[in-house]
């Protein structure tokens, strides 16, 4: 493009403006789209993650509330049992055996009802430090190898009036039991001493907790686990694996969450992250933790990614097609301008006007171009006119050169004849000269009828014949139909003069000069034929050069004639010679017939 400047190297890569613009457009579109794509993906990912976090947080909070109400329900059961009064009676009251039996029976019946209706209760029991105990249906016994005072949750329950909750543990205070349970215990107040005199407890198995945790609507492959306020496991779907150290859980990070919150973990590969959502129960202090695979949450992301990619590709295709279309439309005037410019470069100034009908820079460029070519055309026409004028003035100058030269020669001859007393000859020559001069003077026009030019040459020949006496003979044979043809003047006479001085003069015998004229198609042929010494080929070739050198010395030379004919009539017309050494020379003029100039 701009090789000289060399600054737009990128733009110079392409051959046309169209390609350049198209490529830059495409590049721009692709970059824009890529940026848009990346930003969208990033935003989508964030939004999805945010939504997922929100969603799981809500679910986990709900789950926590469900668990709270479950524990509430169990507390209600324990309150109901304790406040029934029978338990206190059985443990503390001094009663007859019968009443005791009755209270015992009622408690057992109540326990049986509860255990039968609740699949999630493993054990239900009342125990006292003195070894009194009612466990489940009354068949189970305390484990005699265990000192209740050493059991932590028992001690804790004895010390408070609130209910206590343990983490997952093995229930070993009941003989032959050893089940993994979560124990809810409550001290039983002895109204006499005002202190706790026994403990009522319910052992919860994992049926309901498991159901609650497993029937979550979190993503696929997600799970829920529960830890108590000190980070001990209440329930975990992989509890057995955890206990055997076969898997690990991020308890520390869960405990690090001050209250409800979430965190994202990456495994060692750094790829498969997990979303941990923690909800802390105010009631129990338990933390319910939902764990979901990020990749599962992000499943929609891939779909979105696909849609984005697909849309981008289609938009890209459309954009490129449109870009092609627009670029073509925008650059068409430039191409037109370029083509016109090429035409002008070749020299064709006609029909190069470009039609650009727009008001922009290209429009004004086109207008300027049109104005410019028009101006060039004008200038060229003017140039041609000026050239013509110049030629004319040159011709005039040339014509005025002839007269004194020839005049001198003729007058010299007249003097010479007058000295010889040849009066009649002097008269003839002088009259011929007078005729010659009169023709020359009277004829201001550049063009004259052919017959006048022939007469003029005839007058000249008359004078010359007298000068050379018997050495020169001449004949004039011009066809009638071309006699009125207008030709530029002074073309025959110089040729005749040339024949005399270069052909006849050196010939020993009598020379003959013939002037022949005839029409040939659209051309007029005029020949000046002599039978002088002729020319060899070399001389013939250089004849115009020689003539040019001798110009001025011998009047209007042949070169002059040739120049004038071709200047006036154009290339293709002019003068040429045919000659044979020793036999003579023919000067042949070819000019167009009926030639009319525009001016004058």
């Amino acid at each position: 493009m701009s090789e000289e400047k060399g600054c737009f190297t990128v733009l110079s890569l392409f051959k046309s403006v169209k390609t350049t613009v198209l490529c830059l457009f495409s590049l721009l579109i692709i970059i824009t789209m890529a940026i848009f794509f990346l930003i969208s993906m990033d935003y989508t990912e964030k939004t999805i993650l945010e939504n997922s976090t929100d969603y799981t947080s809500r679910l986990v909070r709900q789950l926590n509330r469900d668990i709270d109400s479950y524990i509430d329900y169990m507390e209600n059961i324990s309150s109901m049992v304790i406040q029934g009064g029978d338990v206190q009676k059985y443990l503390f009251a001094e009663m007859p055996e019968e009443d005791m039996e009755e209270a015992y029976g009622r408690i057992v019946a109540q326990f049986n009802t509860i255990v039968e209706t609740r699949q999630d209760i493993s054990n239900i029991a009342v125990v006292a430090p003195d070894g009194k105990a009612i466990i489940n249906g009354g068949r189970d016994r305390l484990n005699e190898n265990v000192d209740l005072e050493e059991v932590e949750w028992y001690r804790e329950a004895m010390q408070t009036t609130d209910s206590i909750l343990t983490a997952s543990h093995v229930q070993y205070v009941i003989r032959n039991n050893y089940k993994w349970v979560v124990t809810l215990g409550k001290g039983i107040k002895d109204s006499d001493t005002g202190e706790n005199g026994g403990v009522f407890f319910i052992d919860l198995n994992y049926k309901l907790l498991k159901d609650l945790c497993e029937n979550n609507s979190l993503a696929v492959n997600s799970y829920v686990f529960i830890v108590d306020k000190s980070g001990k496991i209440i329930y975990h779907p992989k509890q057995q694996l955890l206990y055997n150290g076969l898997t690990t859980e991020r308890i520390d990070e869960v405990m690090g969450c001050g209250s409800d919150g979430y965190f994202i973990t990456r495994d060692s590969g750094g790829k498969e992250g997990k979303l941990y959502t923690v909800s802390v129960s105010e009631k129990t202090g338990w933390r319910v933790v939902g764990v979901a695979d990020i990749s599962e949450l992000m499943k929609n992301k891939e779909k979105t990614e696909y849609i984005y990619m697909f849309t981008s590709a289609i938009l890209l295709c459309m954009a490129v097609v449109l870009a092609t279309f627009f670029t073509t439309a925008i650059t068409r005037p430039i191409k037109e301008l370029k083509d016109s410019m090429k035409e002008v470069e070749r020299g064709n100034l006609e029909n190069t006007a470009v039609a650009i009908y727009s008001n922009n820079e290209l429009g004004s460029l086109g207008n300027s171009f049109n104005l410019m070519t028009a101006r060039i055309r004008e200038l060229m026409a003017q140039n041609i006119y000026e050239q013509e004028e110049k030629r004319k003035s040159e011709l005039k100058a040339l014509r005025s050169q002839i007269n004194p030269h020839f005049l001198y020669n003729t007058l010299d001859s007249i003097i010479w004849m007058a000295e010889g007393g040849r009066n009649r000859e002097v008269v003839r020559m002088t009259s011929a000269l007078a005729k010659l001069l009169r023709q020359s003077i009277s004829n201001d026009n550049e063009r004259i009828p052919l017959e006048k030019e022939v007469d003029y040459a005839g007058s000249y020949l008359t004078i010359q014949k007298m000068r050379y006496k018997d050495k020169l003979e001449y004949e004039i044979d011009v066809a009638e139909d071309i006699r009125k043809e207008e030709i530029i003047n002074l073309i025959l006479q110089p040729l005749v003069e040339n024949s005399i001085y270069h052909g006849i003069k050196y010939k020993g015998s009598k020379g003959l000069i013939r002037i022949v004229g005839y029409g040939e198609g659209e051309k007029v042929i005029l020949k000046v034929i002599d039978n002088g010494i002729g020319m060899d080929e070399k001389t013939l070739k250089g004849i115009f050069d020689i003539s040019k050198k001798c110009e001025g010395k011998q009047g209007v030379g042949v070169h002059n004639v040739q120049t004038r004919i071709s200047l006036y009539y154009g290339a293709g017309y002019g003068l040429h010679f045919e000659s044979t050494l020793g036999e003579g020379t023919a000067a042949i003029i070819t000019i167009p017939r009926n030639f009319r100039e525009r001016e004058e």
């Binding site: 392409f14 051959k15 046309s16 169209k18 390609t19 198209l22 490529c23 495409s26 484990n143 190898n145 265990v146 997952s168 543990h169 093995v170 070993y172 032959n176 050893y178 089940k179 993994w180 198995n205 994992y206 049926k207 498991k210 001990k232 509890q239 057995q240 694996l241 206990y243 055997n244 150290g245 076969l246 891939e302 990614e305 696909y306 990619m309 590709a313 890209l316 295709c317 490129v320 092609t324």
Partner: protein, 326 residues
């Protein structure tokens, strides 16, 4: 010019094609593996916590790794011939891997070799064979297990001690190694071992043997049971004879009965293995081998000493009582 436009289109379409290809390729990931493995323990005994837990470990790991597991075993622990038949059958089933607890150190070996010759990965669990041909072995370090018992007994051993070792299956790798461990642990009191008997993993036989031994050596003061059957059988005999105050017995493995004997103080200590972990790690090793990952030639699943006052510590609860959700 036209050529350029064509190029642009070509690039765009190439881009779309590549993107589609990537998406398709990613969509093709994660198909079901559907691997099948066969586990042949020495015995399937619902009443024996060791085998029960070992099988639970295998099953849980198989479920975790989406494997299908088939478990077959002979009627009794010492029936290596029946087990060998099962190994041959298992080879015919063309599973992806075979997990095996060999009944005999020597007699199982030719069949184990057959497994390897058929190009099936072989994972030994709990017990060894006398040739190093298996891909890996997951087991308790049985010598160490015995040594823990032996070292404990050493504290109470004297020059006059009479020590009895109640073994389970004569010739089994575990029995041999544990016995060696006990001897190692006893140190200079090794020569106080008066008898080593084998109960063939039968409670009643162990009971009878112990009864006979107590008659034969009235002043027995230290007894080492080498597995659950032998330890519990011997403990029953001691309890029945009310000799628990004079005889210190140490056991291996745990069961409800064994734990209760420990609570009661009949057992001084028990040393427990982690059968659940063993089974789990065995399947995990199979998974790794099938995935072309490297595995260790031998993995120790560990053991733990439990005294009668540490039964209910938080950690020991986890080890002694398998967590079951019911």
């Amino acid at each position: 010019m036209r050529k350029h436009v064509k190029n642009v289109f070509l690039w765009v379409f190439a881009g779309v094609a590549v993107a589609a290809g990537v998406l398709l390729w990613r969509g093709g990931e994660g198909e079901e593996k559907g691997r099948r493995i066969i586990f042949i323990p020495k015995v399937i005994d619902e009443d024996n916590d060791f085998w029960k837990l070992l099988i639970e470990g295998v099953e849980m790991a198989a479920a975790e790794n989406q494997m299908e597991v088939m478990i077959v075993a002979a009627e009794t622990e010492d029936d290596y011939e029946a087990q060998n038949e099962l190994i041959e059958w298992a080879i015919g089933e063309k599973p992806d891997a075979i997990l095996l607890t060999p009944s005999s150190l020597t007699e199982t070996t030719p069949y184990a070799r057959k497994v390897v010759e058929h190009g099936i990965p072989l994972i030994l669990i709990d017990s060894a064979i006398d040739e190093d041909i298996a891909d890996t072995m997951i087991a308790t370090d049985n010598v160490k297990l015995g040594e823990v018992e032996g070292s404990y007994m050493k504290q109470y051993a004297t020059e006059e001690s009479r020590i009895v070792i109640m073994g389970h299956v004569e010739g089994s790798s575990t029995a041999i190694e544990r016995e060696n461990g006990v001897r190692k642990g006893l140190g200079e009191y090794e020569d106080r071992i008066v008898e080593v008997v084998f109960c063939d993993s039968d409670y009643d036989k162990a009971y009878e043997l112990m009864k006979e031994l107590m008659e034969k050596y009235p002043d027995i003061d230290l007894v080492a049971g080498l597995n659950e059957y032998s330890a519990v059988g011997a403990a029953r005999a001691i309890k029945a004879a009310n000799r628990q105050d004079r005889i210190r017995i140490v056991g291996i493995d745990s069961s409800l009965e064994e734990i209760q004997f420990l609570e009661e103080g009949i057992f001084e200590i028990i040393v427990i293995q982690n059968p659940f972990k063993m089974g789990y790690l065995g399947v995990e090793a199979a998974e790794k081998i099938l995935n072309g990952e490297k595995v260790l030639k031998k993995v120790d699943s560990g053991c733990e000493l439990i005294t009668n006052d540490s039964v209910y510590t938080e950690e020991n609860q986890k080890l002694l009582f398998p967590f079951r959700e019911e």
